[in-house]
Structures are given as C-alpha cells and as structure tokens.
Symmetry: C2
Subunit: 147 residues, 2 copies
DNA sequence: TCTTGAAGCTATAGTTGCTAGAGACATTAG
DNA sequence: CTAATGTCTCTAGCAACTATAGCTTCAAGA
C-alpha cells in the first residue's frame, strides 16, 4: 500500500493533483488508514500513470474520463476509444505542423538577430506579419476549440 | 479608425479578448469616440496581430509582454529578444519531440484498435505503461518548471 | 517513551488566458 | 424614428491545476 506521497512520486504527479483528480472523479476514493490517510494499491498507480501520460500527450481531462470509462467496461466495442484516439491524432498532427513552422521562424529570427539592434531585426516583424505565418487561424476565427 | 469589432475581425481575435489584453496592459488604451467607444489605428492592428501570432505559436503572455517591450524601444540591442526567442525555441523543440512520440502511439493504438473489443485493445495499456512513453517526466518529477 | 519533523488532512483562494452574461448606452440601416 | 446591432463596464465562470493555512498523523531517533 502506498501513501499519497509515494504514489505521486511513483507516477510523477504532485500530491495536490492526485487529490484534485479524486475530487473531480477521475480517481476513485481510496481506502483510508486508521488515521484517515489515503492508501493506494497497484491499480491506482496504473490509473494515475495512465492519466499522467494522457495529460502529457495533450488529452483533455474529459477525453481521459471517457477513455477510463471505457477501460472500466472492457467488454464494449473499441469503436468509442478509437474515435477519441483518432480525434486526438488529428489535433496532435496539427500541433506538430504549427510548431514545426514556428521552429523555422524562431531559428530564422535568431540567425537574423545575431548582431545588430532591434531596428534591423525581424523578430517582431516576423510575428506581426500574417503572410509569414501558417495562418490556419484565419479559418477558425470564431472558435476557441483545439486545446 | 477601427471599432473594436472591426479590429477583432481583422486580427482574428475576439472582442472580449482585446479588452482583456488592454486590461492586462498588453495593448495601450486606445482613443475613444464621442460616445466612449474604442477606436484603433493601424498600429494597434499590428500589435494585436503580433500578439495573436505569438500566442498561436505558444508564447506565454509574459514572453509576449517582454517582446513587445523590446519592440517599443527598438534602439536597444537585439540580445534580449534573442534570448527570449532562444528559450522559446528550446521549448518548441521539446514539444515537437513529445508530440511526435504521441503521434506514433496514437497511430499504433488506432491500428491495433481497428477490430475487436477493448479487452484486446491497447489504448489504455499503452498510456499506462511507463516503458512505452518518452518518459522525460521521470526527471522533472519535483518541479513544475518548463514554462 | 517521548519528541520532533516530515508528511498527510481539509478547505479555500489564486493562477493563466480567456469566455460568457447582465444591463445600459451608442451607432447605423431602413 | 425606430429597431437592431454593436459597444460599454462589471462580474463570474472555465480548465487544470497550485499554493496557503491550520491542523493531525506517522516514523524515527534520543
């Protein structure tokens, strides 16, 4: 049995975060010791590691909640999990594309910036010019979406 | 002169967001019409476009604030802007690596998930297994850091 | 056995970057 | 002139935590 601190250490999650996950129902309420302290088993560690990794990879908590609910009922079809994964894949691809473009811009900025003053440096210029950006944001003006 | 709505439309930013940026000091207080409505010129549009793009690219508002303060004093050395850009470049590279790993996992999940039930699907498994992940989070267990 | 310091408990409030609503005034198209 | 839209301020809410306060429990050493 692990205390909350040990669990957090093992999964790479901070203690208050674990309590937060419990509070919002992502983790079940664990056993308690005689002195009212939380005690976790191996299952809890798996579940927390799952959450941690999914978070790292950009899944919002709601998607994680869905995935966990699927894993809690493993007799169901995989289709639902597949849909979630597919949606996330699209988001991930888009993010990679964006970031790759940014990387190029930043590298260019840094190279051009190497000497001289801001007056002849393009850092700001590059970032205020619509023409130089991936500009996929033109399309999605209305929605926050993405996350 | 643009009203706040037109400005938002031109820059791809929602109206309340513009007011929020003004509130936190990223945008200067604009002129007002006789009826107290905000009126913006071309400069404001540039500045807002800059913020929008930098946000799109993952710069936190504080970094943007720094960059803007630099652009407000263009006679200075470019070194400071360079440092900010270099820091961001490192962060961007790390994110790309993470996301690329995720992409591989998701693709694998989806392929394996194509038929069958969750019982023989690895969606959950893949994400709870430490061995299969990029595991850079093992190292940074203690600190939020990383910006 | 006692004690001391770390770790745990609950509860509340703060963070970032917005977004949404209420209720009132301004502007503009017909 | 009127009606519809846009804008104004202000407050509250969202996700996903993080930090603080003030207390209790636990493990280990003297």
């Amino acid at each position: 049995m692990l205390t909350i601190g040990k669990l957090g250490e093992a999964a790479g999650v901070k203690v208050p975060t674990i309590r937060y996950y419990e509070q919002i129902g992502l983790l079940p309420e664990p056993e308690r010791s005689a002195g009212n302290q939380r005690l976790y088993g191996a299952k809890a560690l798996d579940r927390l590691a799952f959450i941690r990794h999914a978070r790292d990879l950009g899944f919002p908590l709601e998607a994680i909640r869905d995935l966990l609910s699927l894993s809690d009922r493993p007799d169901q079809s995989c289709a639902a999990a597949d849909i979630i994964a597919t949606e996330q894949l699209a988001a991930v691809k888009a993010r990679i594309a964006r970031l790759t473009a940014l990387k190029a811009e930043l590298e260019r900025m840094i190279t051009q910036c190497a000497q001289g003053t801001i007056a002849n440096c393009r850092v700001i210029e590059v970032l205020s010019d619509h023409a130089l950006c991936a500009d996929d944001h033109r399309a999605q003006t209305g929605s926050g979406a993405a996350t």
